[in-house]
């Protein structure tokens, strides 16, 4: 008999190995093979974590919003959508935190300061706080369906912040530089291996996100099942008492 342990499957295990290999490749490219920047020197290497982190957070929060919308609009309102939304939200918060920390380090080394109340930094910090609030709202109690309904509405409101964060550098005069790849001019402003390292980081972090979200939503499913089982046991106990 096949023994099922943990939240992994053979597919997620293969994906996990691929993620490890890609992250190792990113470390080699980012720290070893890619050259220093002519102005920033080695400091530029922070970009290979900083940019993929915020990119992954955008994807995570996008997935949270899509799953929330599907949950609210669906006829059967499957809680699986809510669990995917919650799992993506948790991982998105983690990646925004990584982006804020690495951005702060990069800022100290290039701008000369850890933090400024600049439009990009402020809107990113606000995004972080919003999704921390989203995660807290998920934990406020009630039934699974109450949790799903209130957090789905919040997720659909919170996603509106993403365009504000991304375009803040063009909407306001900002200390933060404009996008080097996804910019309105469609002009890529990175030299060869730097661009490759950044692209590798984007792919590796995206796959890492997929791996994490698959495991986390399965863990959430088990948590919900455990909680439901507790309720079933309580009802059974009451019935037994009544029948005694």
């Amino acid at each position: 008999m096949a023994r099922q342990s943990g939240t992994g499957t053979s597919a997620t295990r293969r994906l996990g190995i691929l993620v490890i290999l890609m992250l190792a490749g990113l470390a080699l490219c980012g720290l070893w093979f890619s050259a220093e920047d002519v102005v920033q020197g080695s400091t530029v290497r922070i970009m290979y974590i900083h940019v993929p982190s915020i990119w992954t957070a955008y994807i995570a929060f996008g997935l949270t919003a899509v799953c929330s919308a599907v949950y609210l609009s669906g006829k059967n309102r499957s809680l699986a959508w809510d669990r995917f939304a919650g799992a993506a939200g948790e991982i998105g918060v983690l990646f925004v935190a990584v982006s804020l920390v690495t951005g702060s380090m990069w800022g100290r080394l290039t701008w000369g300061t850890y933090w400024v109340w600049d439009a990009r930094l402020t809107s990113t910090a606000f995004l972080f706080i919003t999704y921390v609030g989203y995660l807290a709202v998920r934990q406020l109690g009630g039934t699974h369906r109450q949790r799903a309904r209130r957090s789905s509405v919040l997720a659909l409101l919170a996603i509106l912040e993403i365009p504000l964060v991304h375009f803040s550098v063009t909407l306001w005069r900002s200390l933060h530089q404009e996008a080097s790849v996804a910019n309105p001019n469609a002009k890529v402003a990175l030299d060869g291996l730097m661009l490759f390292s950044l692209f590798l980081g984007l792919v590796a972090f995206t796959l890492l996100f997929v791996w994490l979200v698959l495991h986390r939503q399965r863990a959430m499913m088990l948590e919900d099942a455990f909680s439901d089982r507790g309720l079933d046991l309580a009802i059974t106990a009451r019935r037994n008492e009544a029948g005694a």
Binding site: V38, V39, L135, A136
Partner: protein, 162 residues
């Protein structure tokens, strides 16, 4: 089957009291307060006008001795360090402004790089107490066969001005 509410009185048999989840409530309150602080700080910092060098003394909010943030490019061969301070000339749209900074600017401060200086104009000189170095969104590999150490600054200058 009787499922009416029971009246259990024996000690130890009462159902546990329903626990209110205080931690999530505290986190929600903290998030609301944190959001308020973030917005307040952003708006407070926005009180200082953000002016380009060519707007100083011309644009509304960029004149007089009020505190402002001035953006420009550090002019080549203008940086001088003396008495623990740094003086240089900022350039933008062919207008220049002399800057006196009380310290040694950090980051990748150098000639030909865009910066933002915080301070106020006193007797025609911008007295700054804070400098933030901007870097462009262009990333150019430092190639030892193409650019040697002696012309590094010139290369950086051409990248930023180009």
């Amino acid at each position: 089957m009787d499922l009416t509410p029971r009246t259990v009185t024996e000690p130890g048999t009462q159902p546990p009291a329903r626990k209110r989840r205080w931690l999530p409530i505290l986190v929600v309150v903290g998030a609301l307060l944190g959001g308020g602080v973030i917005v307040t700080q952003f708006l407070t910092s926005a009180i200082d006008y953000y002016c380009n060098v060519d707007e100083v003394g011309v644009r509304s909010g960029c004149s007089g001795e009020r505190r402002m943030r001035v953006q420009g490019v550090v002019e080549q061969n203008s940086v001088k360090h003396a008495d623990g301070g740094t003086t240089f000339t900022l350039d933008f749209n062919r207008k220049t402004l002399k800057v006196a900074y009380s310290g040694d600017p950090g980051g990748v401060f150098q000639e030909c790089i865009p910066i933002i200086a915080h301070g106020r104009v006193v007797n025609g000189v911008f007295e700054s107490d804070r400098i933030e170095v901007k870097h462009s969104n262009q990333y150019v590999e430092k190639n030892s066969t193409r650019i040697d150490a002696s012309n590094k600054e010139a290369a950086a200058c051409s990248v930023l001005k180009g």
